[in-house]
Amino acid sequence: MFMDEVIRIENLSYAYPDGRRALTDISLVINRGESVAFIGPNGAGKSTLFLHLNGILPTEDAVRVFTRAIDEKNIREIRRRIGLVFQDPDDQLFSPTVFDDVAFGPLNLGYSEAEVRQSVASALEKVGMSGYEPRLSHHLSLGEKKRIAIATVLSMSPEVIVMDEPTSNLDPGGKWRLIEILQKLPVTRIIATHDLELVAALCQRVVLLDGGRIVADAPADRILGDRSLLESHSLSRPAGFNEASSLPGRMSPFQG
């Protein structure tokens, strides 16, 4: 099993430059092929944790990726093997055209022109966006942008994909199309989300974060089945907002 370890975090703590604590004593191991959801209320530290996984934020020795600490020499390789997809596709897609954006990673890796074109085409195909190369990013819909944001990482053929809120703000149709695409990717998946439907459809393991600490780390069905645990971390309908409390003859706005 040791060979298959992709990420090992030991006692990682992090405070923002202004002194606020973001992460406290995070420890966990993620193995190849796993699909792990990080859930937790807003501000739990999910996004901050993700920035440690490919060395954007300093990790010292607390984070080991592919059994090695992140340093100057291996950081480029690590960023290729661990693809980070940001929450807002307008941050991820910073080039004028779709092609430029999907080609950005491969070009930085020094691929030849033919390899760049090949990897762009196959990445776009994997997210069902073939033929979008010449399109301008600002003319795309949010669902299209989200899928292309994933392609910008896939074009570097990563082994691990780390995604921050991949389904936020998508309509249900767009969300399920995205889940279908993610299901088909043969990579280790690490996903931060509030969306418990996404977790149920995609992840076998759930890590619950709150206040920068790991509250629970268990198989998905155990955590999704624990109503009181989810409730106490603001991840499901609070007690009192149950079916009985909705007004007769009206849909409860809090359903779901």
Binding site: L51, N54, I56, R76, R79, R80, G83, L84, F86, D88, D90, D91, Q92, L93, F94, S95, P96, T97, D100, A103, F104, G105, L107, N108, L109, G110, E113, V116, L136, S137, H138, H139, T152, V153, M156
Partner: protein, 259 residues
């Protein structure tokens, strides 16, 4: 939301559209240089330059009215800078009058200088509008890059093009949120304060976005160097255009000396 205010009509097809962006950029550069170097009040020369640019507008099939309307944008700026020139230039007095203790006079020479400034800036802006209306911004950026414009400037321009739309959307959303809370009815000073705060908010949001974009770039292996593929190629029409345009500009320039 969709916006087309930067390179509207650039998706059309015409002789001018098909030229290599580098050709067009260099042509516009020399055109503006030639116009700027023309002697003051050389009206026939300006007329020839106008015919030159008008021919290309015609060839480009971009609506003439659109280009004309856009070109007027420059007039207030020029007038603001140049409006006092006629009053402070020496020469034969055209009109003179008194305002209180001051003698104010407008000279013929001053008026000529003002007219020259207007003509030069209008011709230059016409060329620039034609360039952006017939070249996709993405192609123009690629052309500038191939012309060895410093990388930093190309990157800044490309970010500007990518994010100006995002920011416009952000401003529109803020404006709507403000108007839904009854902005119009407040006192004037309070309104100005609100606008100031919105500008501040927009700045901070853009700054934070910048940090996130940089993190996204680093995550995809960015190391300060920028790499792109060469996707441009000169065609015969480019060479032909350069020849015709070059000869036209040079002969018009020589025309200047006849006056």
């Amino acid at each position: 939301m969709k916006h087309g205010f930067l390179d509207k009509y650039s998706e059309r097809d015409s002789l001018i559209h098909r030229l290599d962006p580098r050709t067009k950029f260099v042509a516009v550069f020399f055109f503006i240089l030639a116009v700027t170097l023309t002697a003051p009040a050389a009206w026939p020369v300006f007329a020839v330059y106008f015919i030159l640019i008008a021919t290309q507008v015609f060839l480009s099939r971009v609506p003439i009215l659109y280009i004309f309307k856009r070109s007027l944008v420059i007039i207030p700026f020029v007038v603001l800078v140049a409006v006092f020139v006629p009053f402070f230039t020496q020469g034969q007095v055209a009109v003179g009058f008194r305002i209180g203790p001051w003698d104010v006079s407008v000279t013929y020479h001053g008026l000529q200088v003002l007219g020259t400034i207007l003509a030069k800036s209008w011709l230059s802006i016409l060329a620039l509008i034609l360039l952006t209306s017939t070249t996709r911004m993405t192609d123009l950026l690629r052309g500038l890059e191939r012309l060895r414009l410093p990388r930093v400037m190309v990157i800044i321009l490309s970010f500007m093009y990518r994010y100006i739309f995002v920011m416009v959307d952000e401003v529109l959303r803020m404006k709507r949120a403000r108007d839904s809370r009854n902005f119009g009815s407040g006192r004037r000073l309070w309104q100005i304060k609100t606008i100031g705060r919105m500008a501040g908010t927009l700045f901070i949001r853009s700054y934070e976005r910048g940090e996130r974009v940089y993190a996204a770039m680093l995550s995809r292996g960015y190391d300060g160097q920028s790499r792109t593929l060469n996707e441009l190629s000169f065609a015969r029409s480019d060479v032909l255009f350069c020849l015709v345009f070059g000869v036209a500009i040079i002969s018009t320039g020589i025309l200047t000396f006849l006056f």
